[in-house]
Assembly symmetry: C2
Homo-oligomer: 372 residues x 2
Amino acid sequence: MALLERAQALQAAGRDILHLEVGEPDFPCPAPIMAAAGTALERGDTRYTPAAGLPALREAIARDYRERLGAPVSAEQVVVTPGASGALQLVMTALLNPGDEALLCDPGYPCNRQFVTLAGGVPKPLPLDVADQFRLSREKLAQYWGTATRLAMVASPDNPTGNRVDTAELSAMADWCAQQGGTLVVDEIYQGLCYGAPADTVLRHGDRAVVINSFSKYFGMTGWRLGWLVAPREMVSAVERLAQNWFLAPATVAQHAALAAFDEETLLIAEQRRQLLDRRRTLLLEALPALGLPVVGGAEGAFYLYLDVSRHTDDSFAFCRDLLEKAGVALTPGLDFGAGHDPHRYLRLAYTCDEDRLREALRRLADYLEAR
Amino acid sequence: MALLERAQALQAAGRDILHLEVGEPDFPCPAPIMAAAGTALERGDTRYTPAAGLPALREAIARDYRERLGAPVSAEQVVVTPGASGALQLVMTALLNPGDEALLCDPGYPCNRQFVTLAGGVPKPLPLDVADQFRLSREKLAQYWGTATRLAMVASPDNPTGNRVDTAELSAMADWCAQQGGTLVVDEIYQGLCYGAPADTVLRHGDRAVVINSFSKYFGMTGWRLGWLVAPREMVSAVERLAQNWFLAPATVAQHAALAAFDEETLLIAEQRRQLLDRRRTLLLEALPALGLPVVGGAEGAFYLYLDVSRHTDDSFAFCRDLLEKAGVALTPGLDFGAGHDPHRYLRLAYTCDEDRLREALRRLADYLEAR
Ligand SMILES: Cc1ncc(COP(=O)(O)O)c(C=O)c1O
Ligand SMILES: Cc1ncc(COP(=O)(O)O)c(C=O)c1O
């Protein structure tokens, strides 16, 4: 956060800053989604909706699981939420009682800790090994699962590593957690952003996992604040009641806009963007190791690369700060993603700017490392 | 909730239901706000904003306090949120540690309990007396404040009573709470909807209260999910950090739309609607007592009347259910607003439909009561 503010301050002061720290795609919201929003505006459709979302949107999401992803999801299992953020809050609170432990992949998405704490739970790091590319395995899960553990949380594709975990493997983990009386929560917010394999969901193999998703990333709807969760039927009414009390409802125009997300035209735009991201990724994967910045983590999805910077520093935070000041390149230090995985060795690069800017970033990085 | 679902089911089955249970105005979102939303759409302004909201909107809200309401509020004290709901979540969690008690006016807004519980706090009813029109006083506050109390919550104007508490009096209560090491939270979501007195804020008299507000009701923006809070400066950075983690940011197009809320044209529309609501209120205040339904509570604001139905029943829930089935009039039973104020005697009427429909409701009520 301190670095993000510093990057913005430098930019405001006229410096040309290369923003490789931002977890938001640089593409505009797709035209069909914007058009659907405009139509809802013209109709004046801006009143409260049901707490779990418009029935038509719940059905559209469920249909997409069935028809595009091949998973048997029904509309009653889907709850539309204010972003994946809202879904995470609902799921953590529905699943955790005060004192219950939640295992959080380390490295992993930083806000998860805060949702566990909000729910009265105890966040426990599940430190992953660089030797496994920081990838979650059944063995790791069993190793850290304790008597007070009620939940484990994994993202696939992952932030910050870009890792994908095989969905059959994830489903087996979900079954194992259920056998222990707990739940595996799978954050599929980067679902559509896969390289070298089609988009997939754990729900193709079973219904024990609780799934988080969002229109933010793949569908380019960040500022609309709209996501969803898919839960086993018996959990939904409790989740709906919480949503009714805390949120009243997700945003109305956003929901009407999102109805266009699964249109052929939108999916085509999203696919073109995925290809652009893949080109950026390829460019970086070729250039970074030559700078003494090997990529750890699978880099098979999302728009992040997790880099080992230990050849140049033993403090990735200080490195990021210095790089920002001297070269105007903003990156995110490993510490943001957890304390349990030796974070001072690592930093995250988000390829959320175009190839020209990425080449400029590589030039500046090379100059900076040479002068260091 | 059960009654609300039943009312919707009856309507779906073709019955003509008079909806006097809905806490949402029947007016469309004002045209200048819709136009501003359209402009933001055309600009493609849909990315994440800062967690506390667009600086221009925080400033516009603060300016409205200074110029229209005469309260010395600065932009740094304002945090824009996903509805008053989001503001309530932030404030309760920032102010309560696990085990801390929060006093909640009974009758009062039902979701407050859930926000306290979410924060790990213990909701304590602050039962108000019908002899005081269910109005909060300094004496009541002191009577129920205990050693574990950290917070008291009051809405003015209130849901469900329509009560207003004098703002100087509220400010004195806020000072008193601060002396006890606690905080008074004042929900001003119905601020603009005052009858017989101008809109007012506790912040005109001091800065100890934490204030909740929203674009939902007065500005007709329910489905946009946008509200705000005003807090003492030293509290803001903690609130901002929570908002960053839980919400990432409030909805972007909604924020650009809300920039038009304080335009002269919008305020004129809002004022005309307030006058329409006042006419409905006058109509009902004249007719209801003659039906043996005296209005308890001040009915000086919002769009609610709290009615004493004890002349006809000793179970207002059963009464509401029967009235819905037999006469197609939907009202909200007292139990929704707390268990501590003898709720079986009371029910809430929301005058969120036009005068013709209200007259029809009065006719059906009269027939129903006669046949009973
Ligand atoms: C892994 C992960 N989960 C959830 C979120 C929350 O996103 P949103 O609330 O915009 O859907 C993010 C955002 O960066 C993320 O990276
Ligand atoms: C007293 C009170 N506070 C807060 C809210 C929440 O409103 P919103 O989240 O739409 O701003 C309501 C809604 O009915 C209310 O009546």
